[in-house]
Amino acid sequence: MIPIDHVIGLSALLFGIGAIGVLVRRNLIVMLMSIELMLNAANLAFVAFNRVWPGMDSTKALDGQVFVLLVITVAAAEVAVGLGILLALFRNRDSVDPEEASLLKW
């Protein structure tokens, strides 16, 4: 009933917006949020494809959803650690500007 290609299109759109956010914004917290956005887009795609093509046999019928669960879990872990790093890194500086952390250069 739902047009799946629209779903995939939405996923792509969200992914692109997330990518733009990661690359353009100069606030690390917003960058992390954009990464979450990208992950969500991927999840959406997974679920949609799982709906269209359930697995060949019954054991693999729910591959997509299982994977989505795992992605959600790992995303949570990643955000926790990422924010921890952010806090630790920028404890001594007063900004969350990624361009401040550019010592690893020529």
Partner: protein
Amino acid sequence: MVTGGTEFDLLRWIPLAPLLAAVLHGVLLVVVRRTVSQWVTVAISCGAIGVSFLMSCAAFARLVRLPDESRLLVDHLYTWIGAGIGNQAFSTELAFQFDPLSAVMVLVVSGVGALIHIYSWGYMEEDEREDKGFQRFFCYMNLFAFAMLLLVLADNLVLMFLGWEGVGLCSYLLIGFWYGDRNNAYAGSKAFIVNRVGDFAFIVGLLLLFSLLSEAGHPTIGFQDIERYFAQIAEATLDLPEWLPGGPSYRAVDVVGICFFIGACGKSAQIPLHVWLPDAMAGPTPVSALIHAATMVTAGVYLVCRMSFLYAAAPEASEVIAWTGALTAALGAVLALVQTDIKKVLAYSTMSQLGFMFVAVGCGAYAAAIFHLATHAFMKALLFLAAGSVILAMQHEQDIGAMGGLRSRIPRTRWTFLIGAVALSGVLPFAGFFSKDEILVAAYGAGMAGGPWLYRLLLATAGLTALYLFRLYFQVFRGKSRVRRELRDRMEDPPGSMVIPLYALSLLAIFAGLAGFPQAWGDLAWVDIEKSNSLANFLAPVLAGSGREALEREIEYRLTLRAVLAAATGTGLAWCLYVQWPAWPGKIRSSFRRLHHVLVAKFWVDEIYGLLLVRPLVAISDRLLYRVIDAGLIDGLLVNGVARSVRALAANGLRYLQSGLIQSYMFVMLVGAVAIVALLMR
């Protein structure tokens, strides 16, 4: 040619003993670095050369016990170069051969060499006192002996070339021995460079010969093998560029012969590569005696005689050799007349006598050439050593204009010098007469292009030889003393160690002629006819066509008479000019001032070479090859240029890839990921 080859293990010690001594000297000089007492140095070097001489005598004794046709001793050490497989297999061995020709050469080299080593002890002693390289001298002398003996004993062309180069190197080292004076170093370089030109021709000849043999199916360069297979290539022809005289097609053996002869010219100071020999007198006198009289300069003659079978089959090449030799002989004699330095007179004399030897070779009388080589070695070494005594007595003054009347002050030197001069002038019955006579007879009977002029030129040169030799003797030893006063009373004969070699060489100079007593005289004197001319008989199996047919008795006597007259005329003229009426030389000089000037300037050969060859070469090397190609192109553009462009690329471009900014890294990652996905989805 000789067949078979008997093993004789002692052969290797003939060259190896001096080599070990040289290495030992080198180690002591460079590694140990403490000054060694002169006894040790002399013991090492003279001992080594003595060992060589003894081994040579032993080898000789072994050789003569073999029958005539199989007189060949071999000693094989090691396969130096091995290449190819099957019937293309080629190898160059480190092996020695000892046949009658080698025997003569080795005995001369080691014998005269030993005497000169002993003499050098006394001569170089003041260098020892002033610590100016006594040990270095003997190191080089031993190295030279090794190279020369290697040259003579080698059983193939490549090993011989190794020795050939080695003597060139040692000549350079010893000429420039007192390198504190730049001119000595330049003289050494000049000798080496001119030699190099000859070496190049040698290599060309060697390669040509090898390629001819290979095409005939026998890739080899050992002397025995070349001789064995020579008949197969004797008629091969070669095509050379059109502008060379004599047509584009040449007989290959002629070309090879000429190439080897040019190499010999470099070593033996024949025209046009003769320019280094007078300058080589900058080295110490024992060096001049050994290298530039008795041994190295004879290497060219040895080479040609070793390849006598080739020259016997190459009449055109032989003609070139004969005439070059004759012209060099004449030129040397003429230039010797106007020199004022003792050693330079003797240098030009050497050049002239070597010319005689090459005339003999060109006329096919190879045994006569070797005979003259041996006697000349004795006589010239004697003269040089005696001259060395004079120089020492005169505190290193070498200008004969500052000498005179020395006969009463240094009598032993005087008598030995006189013996040498008399012998070399060709006075009966000394050694020089017999050997020179053989050559004159050969020149007379050879029938070269240019008819009898070859013989006449040679005869005139013989007369000039006597003239300049006795001029030298009279100027130095007789007449009014022109010596500086403070020197006059301090002059003395050399010490025993230096005089003994002089005596030994004098004996040889007197009696060595008996080895080549001509057959035609056999029943004139009390010598048994079969034993006469024993040197030629000894060498016959090895040298091509060395048994000369005796000319008619009458012609022989006439030629002998002419030779004697020539010598007598020269001597008499010298007596007149330099003893009886000493004012005349000066008058002659002023009347022929132009001619004298030309002669003193040596026909400006050095200057011409400098202008035509040296300066253009140096200019090209410096301005083009060095500045443009080497410094500019290779250094500047290729090496530094590449470095500079890499640096520019990295500094101005690549550097900014590592900006440290996270978001630019992420951008690159995104682009990369998209590219990969796009590729995979294609």
